[in-house]
């Protein structure tokens, strides 16, 4: 099991700038850190072999080990306040939509100090999954009174608990909003408390969890709740049923005004991390670990799909016990990029005995001063979407998709056991709801050299970061100078990040793009820029970055596309920005528009090869095939499934936006029936969607010109990168790629 892991505060950094590294080491007293340039991350001895180059920097050295842990689970934190700390009698109430009421203690509204078990919390009880009030006197006496009626998962309830200090009466209300008359889950319960005086304390008020302690400035909670909370309220006395009813909505009846301590409106400031209190006390709070916002609330009618139009119906936040945003570890060492450090893909290599981890990052050229004509666009947004993906241990479809036994490595085994490291936007939360946010401020253990991915076809079994090292390895082997930037740079800097380069080279699978990234690439092409798209299933999903906090993206798996989970109806718009999420194709921009090709089929067993099409012999595109025979099979070899055409495949389609006069110079053939047409192509479920039968199961290699001498060359296959190094880089995939790159560097119009 891995005993050393880490992450960085940035994904890319330029000379003169500083990157910080946070490390958890439980492997001996000290560990060694070294900066390495990642050349080829593939350990397959049948390929070029694993290669990294040690780079001498001031950061290289020995560091003291320390354990750093991740506290996963989201909640709302509202700081200490006289209004809250001095409560004797009170009412706590909210609408809830619990997803795992059977899971044990889960706090909904909590003013609790765990170290001496003092305070009060409205919870779902472990006794029977019903609503309960937990009271503790701080002297060892705890009492939990519950309704005794288990909640039904994924149904809305109004729940409340009041406590009258004078009469020591607890009232519990559990009011289902569903109409299942056969379910006996409605309850109003009155009991006497035996706890005695509930002491005042200054621990924070928390929603969705109860306060346990602080750890290096981080609030640590327990009793994480899975599900939605809407309209949480606190009053400073035991309210009657009528008064509770009045407090459900806002504005509240005037006679209740003085009794309201806090009335939180989750539909305000949905894009941010702040949570607003509507009451005069202004007890605003913050979300911690990014629970899902812009979620349909208890009063959502189904008539409005866009939260921007009816925010009052989106007053719910969905909390998860495995949400994670920022691991919040302390910095162990940092690196100021020396002047003259060559742009490229680097990593901080951590070693302690047999234990090793790498923390990858990109070093950019000095800002505004490109050092090469070629730019490699490191797909950090796509790496984030896949960050710490768990399908190999969680999803029964894995072996069906892979067409073989799945393979796990040390990274997968660690992630399986350390769920606090969080999942990817391909995984489900522990309650089954999809993960729509993914942060890079945590170790991302599948964005690693040496990692082997279950999904990456036979042979090297590579996917994403490690597959992409075959592209940078090839650039190095060809002695082609290149600079590197990340998706995040393109998002925040737009066209200026790429406009000075003659050629942009993509990764094998640049799937996720914000509108800012999309627009920058389109503008680049129209200004004469040239794109080599060495992959497939690119520019597929729309994403957005958070506007207030760094390093996190949002994905909504809307109505179409290859999805491992599905956004709930009405939850199709990003909370980060209000934009409609889902496929770019469903946003009026199919990938064919910007690449010439777009996602058409996928399979993950073996790859295949291409044959030339008549277009390939036309004068304009002859340069692509210089030195390649008329009848040669292209790419019938390789480290990713034994072929250059594999995993995910893209095809040209005029109807989807492939520019007129695009040359479709080659197409792949002979895919297995593990390869299936993507679901967005199927309006009606039909037989014959496998590789043996369906003409849409193919990768097209295309070329088209854009304005001002620009051009796009696309290979339409994720596996392409795995064939570049075959036969010591002397093969027709390498040759074709080099033919195009050389021609694209030449500014002469086509």
């Amino acid at each position: 099991m891995m005993k050393i892991t880490g992450y960085a505060d940035k994904i890319s950094v330029a000379p003169g700038e500083t990157i910080k590294f946070m490390v958890n080491s439980e492997a001996g007293k000290r560990y060694r850190a070294d900066i390495v340039r990642v050349i080829c991350g593939d350990e397959n001895p049948d390929g070029p072999g694993y290669r990294e180059k040690l780079v001498k920097t001031a950061a290289n050295g020995s560091y003291k080990s320390r354990k750093q842990v991740i506290h996963a689970g989201s909640f709302v934190e509202i700081g200490a306040s006289d209004m809250l700390d001095g409560l004797e009698s009170f009412t706590m109430q909210a609408f809830i939509w619990p997803t795992t009421p059977e899971n044990g203690t889960q706090a909904i509204i909590s003013k609790w100090r765990d170290k001496d078990k003092a305070g009060a919390a409205l919870i779902i009880t472990k006794e029977n999954g019903s609503i309960a009030l937990c009271l503790g006197n701080g002297k060892g006496k705890i009492q939990t009174l519950n309704t005794g009626k288990p909640l039904v998962a994924r149904e809305w309830y109004f729940v409340a608990a009041s406590y009258d200090a004078k009469s020591k009466t607890v009232t519990l209300v559990q009011e289902p909003l569903h109409g299942f008359e056969t379910k006996s889950d409605r309850a109003t319960v009155r009991r006497k408390s035996t706890v005695g005086r509930v002491p005042n304390h200054d621990a924070p008020l928390t929603l969705g969890a109860y306060f346990k302690k602080t750890d290096n400035g981080r609030t640590v909670c327990g009793g994480h709740y899975n599900g939605k909370i809407d309209s949480p309220r606190i009053a400073n006395r035991a309210l009657s049923a009528t008064e509770m009813e009045s407090l459900k909505t806002w504005p509240v009846a005037p006679e209740l005004g003085n009794s309201v301590v806090g009335a939180w409106d989750f539909s305000a400031n949905i894009k941010g991390i702040k949570v607003s209190d509507l009451s005069a006390n202004l007890l605003h709070g913050e979300i911690v670990n990014l629970p899902a916002r812009a979620m349909t609330g208890w009063n959502w009618t189904g008539e409005e799909m866009n939260w921007n139009h009816a925010p009052e119906q989106y007053g719910a936040i969905h909390f998860h016990d495995d949400d994670i945003y920022d691991a919040g570890w302390e910095v162990d060492f940092e690196l100021t990029i020396p002047k003259g450090m060559k742009s490229g893909v680097y990593a901080a290599r951590l070693r302690a005995g047999e234990h090793e981890d790498h923390i990858p990052f990109a070093v950019r050229a000095p800002r505004g001063k490109p050092t090469a004509k070629v730019l490699y666009l490191m797909p950090s947004a796509s790496y984030q979407a896949y960050a710490n993906e768990h399908m190999n241990t969680d999803a029964p479809v894995g072996q069906l998709l892979a067409g073989r036994l799945v393979q796990l490595d040390k990274f997968n085994l660690f992630l399986n056991e350390h769920r606090e490291y969080g999942g990817s936007c391909y995984d489900a939360h522990s309650d089954g709801s999809g993960i729509c946010y993914s942060s890079r401020l945590r170790p991302i253990l599948n964005m690693r050299p040496k990692h082997r991915a279950w999904i990456g076809a036979t042979e090297s079994t590579l996917w994403q970061f490690n597959a992409d090292t075959h592209i940078t390895d090839w650039l190095e082997a060809m002695n082609i100078d290149y600079d590197v930037i990340s998706d995040e740079d393109l998002h925040y800097e737009g066209l200026s990040a790429i406009e000075d380069y003659a050629v942009v080279v993509s990764s094998s699978h640049p799937e996720y793009h914000s509108v800012e990234m999309w627009d920058a690439m389109a503008a680049y092409q129209q200004r004469g820029g040239r794109l080599m798209y060495l992959g497939a299933n690119g520019w597929y999903w729309r994403i957005q970055y958070h506007s207030e906090v760094p390093g996190v993206i949002e994905v909504r798996r809307n109505e179409d596309g290859i999805r491992t989970w599905e956004a709930r109806t009405g939850e199709y718009y990003f909370s980060f920005s209000g934009e409609y999420g889902g496929l770019w194709r469903r946003n009026g921009r199919p990938p064919q528009k910007i690449l010439g090709v777009g996602f058409t089929a996928q399979g993950f067993d073996i790859s295949s090869y291409y044959l030339r099409n008549p277009d390939s012999h036309k004068a304009k595109v002859k340069f692509i095939f210089d030195g390649i025979g008329k009848n040669e099979k292209i790419g019938d070899f390789g480290l990713i499934g034994n072929g250059a055409a594999g995993l995910e495949l893209d095809r040209a389609d005029r109807a989807l936006g492939t520019p007129p006069d695009t040359y479709v110079v080659a197409s792949s053939v002979e895919h297995t029936d593990i390869y299936l047409v993507v679901c967005e192509e199927m309006l009606v479920s039909t037989p014959g969607v496998g590789g043996h039968e369906n003409p849409l199961v193919r990768a097209d290699i295309t070329f088209h010109e854009t304005q001002n001498g620009g051009a796009v060359w696309s290979t339409g296959s994720i596996a392409w990168a795995g064939s570049l190094a075959h036969n010591n880089y002397k093969n027709n995939v390498s040759r074709m790629t080099k033919n195009v790159l050389k021609r694209f560097i030449n500014p002469k119009p086509f």
Partner: protein
Amino acid sequence: MPNEVESRAIEEFRKTPIGHHSTELQVILNEMRGQPMADKFCLISIKANREWQLAQTTGVRGKPVKMLSKKFTNLEDAEWYVFKKRWKQLRGETLR
């Protein structure tokens, strides 16, 4: 014992465990590979492309993958070994 169609499919799998398959074999593999995650066979990469260890996922989040003692030096052997195990589980028959 496997019927005639199954026998042909089994022989086909023996020769080509990963790759192009007949419909008859694919139907069998879909059943086998689509099993739930509890006790599902998988491989742990021990030495890149040279050695794998048999294991079983648990289907329970956070619960360690169960490492089994069987090791393989090529994937075809691993596939055939697991195929036989799964055939026994699903059909109650021992394949040789």
